[in-house]
Symmetry: C2
């Protein structure tokens, strides 16, 4: 009884603070006519004094908003905007590249948006990402723990303000760096439900794509991947494994054989576009930054493209590199008329960046593997997908940590199909009430829905429906 | 002296029989205006009574015909026409797919033709291939030995009739099944030169792409390739290796574990387009033929596409499959006005096929590895290239037989570049006067120049020039 009162009061407090703003967007610069879907944007304040204002884009399912899953999408980074996931991966619109120019990006519908089958909240998290901001300098100091707690707080407040969605199946989703944060948030939601946090969330599971799970393991896995994909030779692979003894990051400088092997490896992969090894890699404006996979942060870093692309805003650069696509978001989201249409609060951020690499963000949790292990004890569904041509977080490393969870294999590595073509290979693991579906997306890069939109929509549709892929 | 007279008489005999026909082609149906390059077609009779009439297309280098290499190109199969290599790989023109229809294929220039840097003879060999024919039924019964001997005879006769090219550096080239025939022909030429056959050929070396070298080894290598490219799982790969003990073709039916593993493997790869594993695979009209890599012939087999494509000649099929491209050659080369323009002898063949799978051809040499081993003792240059996304003759098997040659590694697995992008990885092997350059073509399929024309032209240009790739 006492507990219930506490929960209720806590709930009321949440309600009173929860909605800072909430706007329905009917039109957007660059999109002809009225938006043919429901888009809401808004801020929700989190933290003790709502000093962190998290910005979101909410899009209703075009099928059945009342019953379809509710998906919270986090783009990763850390520091990559929810808008990047929206514009380049699973959102309802994207740029019409054929008819866009640097001065005038135009938008078109994405026929393979996940909003075909789900309600989606794209969140600019953590603070400092996209349009999210803080009202104090201190609040910008965050880490994996505090930022995921804030995302959980956001989710509760958002659902209090949109209580009709409390009954929808809830999935936490994201890719890349979200491989660390999503399992933590899922754990928070699960714990919160267990101790009676208000409101109870109808958590069903989570979805992670090319997820960063262990900062060192995933990076080490690049050696195996580079070998399998013919970027390094058999001899060099065997020699590096032997000489570096499985660890390719910050090698002991006295281990000259390992250092020499890694030098050769780096020479082989320096000019690869690591997000999709078959696509062209374009030079940064300044300074050139060759890949050094074994010493650099494993995160993709494309913000230096901004310079080169800003300098030629009016023309489509040929030959094409995927990174050129990203300049359109930069131009569009920094346009004052766009910000006004999105109801961005004036003066809250100076420049919108697709991925903000200057966050004051401490990686205080090196791996989410323990969270995964905990979650296997719960009544949850997990979908882990990997674009199999991504070297930044390669599928071979993902398979390694999944094997460590020691789950039972229910269905072992079978092809699945879209339009009669093999779209990838799926393995289903189970453990009592827990199930984990792992699948490759054949030919896809790091952010798989950006490369294989049709296949990824089919994947998520079938998985939400409890079908076999 | 006696020997010289014999050689001379033999030479004169060759001359007298050599040229059956020889025509300069100025225009071709489907190509607007006059051909902007020198195209000659013709027949050369080989065999004791010239009973085998081999048809060729000769294209002069557009750079310096007098000094540029002379390349004899063989498309493989056995039974695949030289015209296929010309139209889809390295020839001066190809189909203008955007402006072609099934009824009216149109041609356009190929900006990446190897004729930019070389004189090329595309040969319809063996007899029964393309427009080549025999005047007796017996002459259609051929095998690796007799067909390569005929190709050698063709080459001598062709050079007698085009004696200005006797001084050009000569390279024998081809891909796929030509991995078997090219080394045999090179051996014949080398032997012929040594024993004073007339004319002496200025043989410099040979070029083979995704070459079939050992019918069993290359097919077995598909298991490793399928594993590396995420088509089968680690578990299944290890289990199959263990249970089948390295041999995946015609397994002992009593070895149930191996049979079961291979069944699973076949299930994983049944619907892959094996010539480029990331491209879509389209259904044959009848009957459906799933891949069964471990029991079928290793050769690509696309002639059943003819039916499905003949049934819809007027429309471009969407979504696209690469095999649809091949129907244009079928329609074009069977057009009577085209055959007249090419100076095809009337009544000599009924239907032109890109790849004739009904040859009476005995595979009497299971592997060309012994020929390669012999050739390493000679003053020759070899270029072996592999599209690294081809599962039909995977690069991993090619590397295995190259390693068996036990050559010295001069330059070990380095990336090479075209337009600042990694085009592949190269290793250079040497042994006294012999050198072998092995390179992957990143992202390419079985017939690499068809997939990566710019990269393959850069490769051949640099290699002919004795540059590093």
């Amino acid at each position: 009884m006492w507990l219930s009162v506490v929960v209720l009061v806590q709930g009321l407090l949440l309600i009173s603070n929860s909605v800072e703003s909430q706007s329905i967007i009917d039109t957007l610069p660059g999109f002809p006519g009225k938006l043919p879907f429901k888009l809401e944007t808004g801020y929700i304040g989190v933290g003790e004094l709502d000093e962190v204002q998290l910005f979101y884009y909410f899009i209703e399912s075009e099928r059945n908003p009342k019953d379809d899953p509710l998906v919270l999408w986090l783009t990763g980074g850390p520091g990559c905007s929810g808008l990047s996931g929206l514009l380049y991966e699973i959102g309802p619109f994207t740029f019409d590249y054929a008819n866009s120019s640097g001065n005038k990006p135009t938008l078109e519908l994405n026929p393979y948006s996940w909003k075909k089958v789900a309600n989606i909240i794209f969140l600019d998290a953590s603070v400092g990402t996209g349009f999210s901001y803080a009202t104090t300098w201190e609040a910008y100091n965050i880490n994996d723990t505090s930022s995921t707690a804030q995302t959980y707080e956001f989710l509760r407040k958002w659902l209090m303000a949109h209580s009709t969605f409390l009954v929808n199946p809830l999935y936490i989703a994201g890719d890349s760096y979200s491989g660390k944060t999503v399992p933590i948030i899922v754990q928070e939601v699960s714990n919160g439900n267990e101790i009676g946090h208000w409101p109870p969330l109808n958590l069903k599971g989570f979805v992670i794509g090319n997820p960063l799970t262990h900062e060192i393991w995933d990076t080490n896995a690049r050696l195996k991947f580079a070998h399998r994909t013919a970027l390094i030779s058999d001899r060099l692979y065997q020699s590096t494994k032997r000489n570096c003894q499985g660890s390719y990051i910050n090698p002991d400088p006295n281990n000259t054989q390992c250092v020499e092997d890694l030098r050769e490896v780096n020479e082989c992969i320096a000019n690869i576009y690591i997000a999709q090894i078959l696509e062209p890699n374009c030079a940064y404006s300044q300074p050139p930054k060759p890949n050094k996979l074994w010493s650099l942060s494993p995160h993709l870093d494309d913000d230096n493209f901004i310079d080169i692309l800003h300098s030629t805003p009016d023309q489509v650069l040929e030959p094409w590199c995927r990174c050129y696509n990203y300049v359109y978001s930069l131009i569009w989201a920094n346009d004052k008329s766009v910000q006004k249409a999105l109801h961005i609060r004036e003066g809250t951020i100076t420049d919108w960046e697709r991925c903000n690499n200057t966050l004051t963000y401490t990686h205080n949790i090196i791996t989410s593997i323990d969270y995964h292990r905990n979650l296997t004890k719960k009544d949850l569904r997990a979908l882990v997908y990997s674009g199999d041509h991504d070297m930044s977080i390669p599928y071979v490393g993902t398979l390694e940590w999944i094997e460590l969870l020691d789950l039972s294999v229910k269905d072992d590595w079978r092809p699945w199909f879209v339009d009669g073509q093999i779209a990838g290979y799926v393995t289903i693991y189970t453990e009592e009430k827990y199930s984990l579906t792992f699948t490759t997306i054949k030919g896809a890069g790091h952010t798989a829905p950006e490369y294989k939109p049709k296949e990824c929509l089919a994947m998520i549709d079938r998985w939400f429906a409890y079908y076999f892929l």
